[in-house]
Amino acid sequence: MNAGYVLRRLLGAIPLLFGISLLLFAIIHLAPGGPLDVYADNPSVSPAALEQIRKAYGLDQPVPVQYVLWLKSMVLGDWGYSIRTGRPVLQEVTERLGPTLELGGLAMLLSLAIALPLGTVSAARRHSLLDHVLTFLSFAGISLPVFWLALLLQLLFSIALGWLPSAGYQTIGGGSFGDRLAHIAMPAAVLSLATIASWSRYIRSGMVDVLNQDYIRTAYAKGLREPGVILHHALRNALIPAVTIIALDLASIISGAVITETVFAWPGIGRLFIESMDGRDYPVLMGLMMLGSLAIVLANIAADLAYATLDPRIRYD
C-alpha cells in the first residue's frame, strides 16, 4: 500500500460523488410534492406569500438550474439554506452531528468490544451449548424491534426504577459528564444490541472458516496453545469478511439512527432527516444524503486499506 494508491482512490471518489449528487437531486425532485406543500392545508398562507417563498429559495427555477445553484453552494459555501428554518444547512448539520457521533460512536465501540469476543468464543466452541445459546441470543437481538426494546427499557429504568432519564440529551440547563452519560446509556444500549448480534455472527463464521484451515492445524501441531493460535493466527484472517460489514456500519453512523433518536428524543442527524423529509426541505436533504454518501465512499476505501493491513497477501499499487 502506498500514498499514491490512497490519493488515486480519493480522487476517484470525486466523480463518483458528483454522479451520486445528480442521482439524489433527481430522485428527491421526482418524489411527489415540494417544500411548500406543508403550507397547503394552512388557511392563512396566501398564494402571494407562497410565491414569494418560492422565489426566495429559487424553487421557481428549472430543476437543472436549481442543481447548479445547489452545487455551487455545496462546494463553495454553506450548503444552501434550509427552507424550514431559514438557517444555513451546514450549521443545521454540524449542530446535529455531535450528538449523533457520540451516540453512534459509543454504540459502535460497545458493539465491537462485545461482538469480537462473543464471535470468537462462539467459533472456538462451535456446536457447544454456549455456541447454541449465543446463536439464539444473536437471532433474538437481530429480530427485536428497536422501538419496542426502547419502550421496555424506559418502562423499567425510568418509570419502575427511576434510575435513568427516559429521553433527551441532557438535563435542561445542566449537562455534566455524568448527566450526559445517564442520558446516553439507554439509547446506546438499544442501538448496539442489534449490531452486536449481527457482527458477532460475521466474526463467528469468518472464524469457523479459518479454524478449518491447514495452517491452524500446523500451528497446533507445533505445540501452540489455543489462545495463541486463535489470537495470533486465526483472528486476523477471520476479520477480513467482518471488516467490510463493520466499515459500512461505521459509515452509517453519520446518517443517524432514526428510530432510536426519535424514541429517545436525541437531537441527532436521523431526526433532522425525518423532519426535512416530511417538509421536503431539499437543501437539508441533499446535504444529509451527500454526507452519508461521502461516509460510505470513504468507508469503502478504508475497508480496502484495512484488508491490506490485516492480510499481507493483499497488496495495492
Binding site: A31, D37, S44, V45, A49, I53, A265, D278
Partner: protein, 539 residues
C-alpha cells in the same frame, strides 16, 4: 413521528368543554404558590421562534411574545397590549368610503416594557406591520398585511390602522400573532437575525436558552406588566420549559416518570394510558377541526348524481366512526363546527343513518345490484377509490368503517392511501374518487377556500355559483346578524348539494400534573400558552 400542526392549520379558537370547566372551577383562588418549574412536552422540532415565519403553532412564542389582542379560552378576543378590543360599538372600528373600507384604532397599554427594559409604544405596532409586509422577509404568515393601507401613530399609545377593505377577520392575523420590537429589529434582516433564536417580547416569560432539537428554557420576566388580583407581580412560575419529544410513546413515558408536567396534544389512542395514573389528570376541550368524506366531481360520473351522494350520506353511521376512534370525536352535520355559536345553524338539514333509505334512493335512481352485490348503471359500476392519509391510525380505522358501511348499500370502495406530501398532492389535485380527511379553520372561519369554485383547498372540482355568491356576502360583512344569516344559507346549500359529508369533530386531550393550577385550556391557534402568567404549582 412528527405532527404537522402547521400554525394556522390548527385550531384557531374553541371553547372549554363542560367537564373541563368543572375541573377548573374546583380550584378557585387559593393562596397561589410562587416559583417552581413547569416542563411542557412538544412533539415537533421547532424551526424558528419568530411568530411570523414558523411553520408550527408557536407554543413557545405565545409565552414570550404578546400581541395587541388574544383569544381567550372561549375563543373571544380580549385585549392584551391594547386596552380594549376595537369594535363598531366602541368606535374602535369606523367604516369609511361608503362601508368599503375601515379604520381600526388601537389604544395601547401604558407602562409596558420589552424584556430588555425599553418601553413598548405605537411605533412598535407600525414597525411590525412594515417588517412583516417587507418583501425581503420570507414569512409564512403575512396574512392581513396587504389589507392595511397605512398606520398613523399620533401619540405613543395610539395606533390607527387604515384598511383598504372591510376585513372581519382582522383580529385573527397580524397584530394578534405578536408585536416586534422596533428598537431591536429596525434595519436588521429578519430572515437571519438572532431574534429568531431568542425573541424579544413583552410576555410573562423570556427565552434564556434554545437548544435545537432539545428544549427551550424560558424564565420569569421580572418586569411583566400584568398583576394578580392582589396587585402581586405575575407570572407565578419561575421557569417554563418546553421539551421536544417527537415520539408520542416517549411523551407518555415522560409524563408518567414525572419528567414532564404538561402535554397539550395527547393522541386519542394514548389518552387512556394516562387516566388513572396518580398525579396526572386529563382535560378535554373541543377543537375547530372536523372529519369529512368528500366526493370528486371530476371523477366517476355517478358521483355527480345527487342521489348517489345522498345515499352515501344516509349510509354513514357516525356512532360507529366515533367508537372506532376511542369515543373521542363527536358527530356533526355541518362543516361549521358547533363551537362557532355565532355561525353554526342547528337547523341545517341532515341525513340520519338509514340503510333502507339509502338503498331505496339508489334503487329509484336506477343503480341495480349486480351478481357481486355491487350496483351499476349505464355500464358504470359503483366502485370507488378511497384515499386517506396512510399512517394515521385513526383515519385508517375510519376508512375501514366507511368501506363496510358503503358495502351495505352496494357500493365498493378500495383503499388507495398515500403518505405525507403525496397525500396532500392527491387531495389538492383531486387524485381520488372519495377522500376522507380533516380540515381546520381559524377562529374567524372562511369556508370558500374549501367549497368555493376558486377555493385554494378545493381539489374536488366542486363549483356552485349560488354558493360562491353567498361566500362573497358572508366574507365581506362585519354585522353579526347578517353574517349569521349568510352562514345559515351557506350551510343549507352545502347540506342540500352535498359536495362533502361532515362526519365528526374533535376534542383536544390535554394531560397535566395535578399540581398545576389555574391552567386554562386555549385550543386556538394562539395555543394553550397564550395566557401563562397565572399558572402556578401547588404541593
Amino acid at each position: 413521528m412528527t405532527t404537522e400542526f402547521s400554525r394556522r392549520t390548527a385550531l384557531k379558537g374553541a371553547f372549554i368543554g363542560t367537564a373541563a370547566l368543572a375541573t377548573l372551577r374546583a380550584t378557585p383562588g387559593w393562596a397561589q404558590g410562587r416559583g417552581g418549574t413547569l416542563t411542557a412536552g412538544l412533539t415537533y422540532d421547532i424551526d424558528t421562534l419568530n411568530v411570523y415565519s414558523t411553520g408550527y403553532l408557536g407554543d413557545v412564542q405565545a409565552a414570550v411574545v404578546e400581541g395587541l389582542l388574544a383569544p381567550n379560552g372561549q375563543a373571544e378576543y380580549v385585549p392584551v397590549l391594547a386596552t380594549e378590543v376595537p369594535t363598531l360599538e366602541n368606535g374602535g372600528i369606523v367604516l369609511t368610503d361608503d362601508g368599503k373600507k375601515m379604520t381600526v384604532t388601537y389604544k395601547l397599554r401604558p407602562g409596558v416594557k420589552w424584556h430588555d427594559g425599553q418601553p413598548f409604544t405605537s411605533a412598535d405596532v407600525k414597525f411590525t406591520w412594515e417588517a412583516v409586509k417587507n418583501e425581503k422577509f420570507i414569512a409564512e404568515s403575512k396574512d392581513g398585511t396587504e389589507d392595511i393601507e397605512s398606520i398613523d401613530t399620533p401619540d405613543e399609545l395610539t395606533a390607527i390602522c387604515r384598511y383598504n377593505t372591510v376585513a372581519p377577520d382582522f383580529a385573527s392575523t397580524l397584530f394578534t400573532f405578536g408585536i416586534l420590537p422596533k428598537h431591536a429589529l429596525e434595519g436588521k434582516d429578519l430572515n437571519t437575525d438572532p431574534y429568531n433564536e431568542k425573541p424579544l417580547g413583552t410576555g410573562p416569560f423570556m427565552v434564556k436558552e434554545f437548544k435545537r432539537g432539545q428544549y427551550v428554557l424560558t424564565e420569569r420576566n421580572p418586569n411583566y406588566w400584568r398583576k394578580d388580583d392582589k396587585g402581586q407581580a405575575l407570572p407565578y412560575l419561575d421557569q417554563l420549559v418546553f421539551k421536544i419529544i417527537p415520539d408520542s410513546n416517549t411523551l407518555m413515558t415522560q409524563l408518567k416518570s414525572g419528567e414532564l408536567g404538561l402535554v397539550v396534544q395527547v393522541p386519542y389512542n394514548q389518552a387512556k394510558q394516562i387516566e388513572g395514573v396518580a398525579g396526572l389528570e386529563t382535560i378535554k376541550g373541543p377543537l375547530l377541526s372536523w372529519q369529512h368524506l368528500d366526493f370528486n366531481f371530476k371523477g366517476p360520473k355517478s358521483l355527480q348524481d345527487l342521489a348517489v351522494r345522498q345515499a352515501i350520506a344516509h349510509a354513514m353511521n357516525r356512532q360507529t366512526l366515533v367508537r372506532a376512534q376511542g369515543g373521542f370525536p363527536e358527530p356533526i352535520k355541518s362543516p361549521v363546527v358547533p363551537v362557532f355559536k355565532d355561525l353554526y345553524d342547528p337547523n341545517t338539514p341532515d341525513y340520519p343513518f338509514d340503510v333502507a333509505k339509502a338503498n331505496k334512493l339508489l334503487d329509484d335512481a336506477g343503480y341495480a345490484k349486480g351478481g357481486d352485490g355491487i350496483r351499476a348503471k349505464d355500464g358504470e359500476t359503483l366502485s370507488y377509490r378511497i384515499v386517506v392519509q396512510a399512517g394515521r391510525a385513526d383515519d385508517e380505522l375510519a376508512e375501514q368503517v366507511i368501506i363496510a358501511q358503503l358495502k351495505a348499500i352496494g357500493i365498493a370502495a378500495k383503499p388507495d392511501n398515500k403518505t405525507g406530501v403525496a397525500y396532500r398532492e392527491a387531495r389538492y389535485k383531486g387524485d381520488y374518487d372519495l377522500i376522507y380527511g380533516r380540515w381546520i379553520t381559524s377562529a374567524d372561519p372562511v369556508y370558500s377556500v374549501f367549497y368555493g369554485t376558486k377555493g385554494a383547498n378545493n381539489g374536488q372540482g366542486y363549483s356552485n355559483p349560488k354558493l360562491d355568491e353567498v361566500f362573497a356576502r358572508l366574507e365581506n360583512t362585519l354585522d353579526p346578524a347578517e353574517r349569521k344569516a349568510h352562514a345559515a344559507e351557506m350551510q343549507k346549500i352545502l347540506a342540500e348539494d352535498l359536495p362533502s359529508i361532515p362526519l365528526t369533530t374533535n376534542v383536544a386531550v390535554i394531560a397535566k400534573t395535578t399540581k398545576l393550577k389555574d391552567f386554562v385550556p386555549n385550543p386556538t391557534n394562539m395555543t394553550n400558552f397564550v395566557d401563562t402568567s397565572r399558572w402556578h404549582l401547588e404541593g
